[in-house]
């Protein structure tokens, strides 16, 4: 197996940057993967960013923008909350795409009526479930990335041997 196959190529080991951690975490929330890219770990950041964005956009494509709804799917929105674009989309949808933004959840006006439709079609059944699952999972995976950004920001990049020794100690 070559060095590149083993994933042990030439990237330098990065020092800890504790003071910058809040900024990296904020940027990771706004755009998944951006925290890693700015820490100098471009390849990892791109892989994480493309995957999280892909999962989030796939969820929206499957279920439509209605799957990100802080009132209708409150519990799932807690998962979606870890992904900044989902929160932005939820606010934009509620403010600009609903025909009657002040309608109560569960009333006819909330999902749009044939006479006064919303700008988007609400989803039901499987597309709704899968769309919510994809977008919520994108948020929860971003939470996992927060932890990684925090860990690498505080302790820097450790060699695998060092980590193993610490785990044993």
């Amino acid at each position: 197996m070559t060095k590149s196959q083993a994933g042990q190529t030439s990237e330098k080991k990065l020092p800890p940057q504790p003071a910058m951690v809040p900024i990296y975490l904020g940027l990771t929330w706004l755009c998944p993967g951006l925290g890693h890219v700015l820490m100098g770990d471009v390849r990892r950041g791109l892989i994480l960013g493309i995957t999280i964005w892909g999962l989030f956009l796939s969820g929206l494509l499957i279920g439509g923008v209605g799957v990100v709804d802080s009132k209708l799917n409150r519990a799932w929105f807690l998962g979606q909350l870890s992904n900044g674009p989902a929160v932005v989309l939820s606010v934009v949808r509620a403010k600009t795409m609903m025909a009657n933004p002040n309608a109560k959840v569960g009333s006819d006006g909330y999902l749009g009526t044939p006479e006064v439709p919303n700008d988007y079609e609400p989803s039901f059944g499987r597309p709704n479930e899968i769309g919510i699952l994809y977008t919520a999972l994108a948020g929860l995976l971003n939470l996992f990335i927060f932890y990684d950004v925090f860990d690498r920001g505080i302790y820097g990049y450790r060699e695998p041997q060092e980590s193993a020794e610490e785990a044993r100690a």
Binding site: G7, I62, G64, F124
Partner: protein, 86 residues
Amino acid sequence: MINLGELMSVTLAWRPFLDPMPIDRYWLLLIFPLVLAIAVVYKAVKIPQPGLAVMTVQSLKLAGQIVGVLAGAAAVLLFLTEIIGL
């Protein structure tokens, strides 16, 4: 068999991101991209220097393991509920 005329009428009227996709018949297949994304993110965080070759192999391996465990759990549940009748 897929009716092309019906498929075209559905896809032409479909507005991406505004209308839900008609996936009711294929929803179970969407477990594969989901599992693959989980595996890629996990391995991208865990592997010290994520190269293309090692990421591909490791992610596919983990995704396969997750799908295998899910299929096993489904088989056990099917056995308990449908065959034994708990």
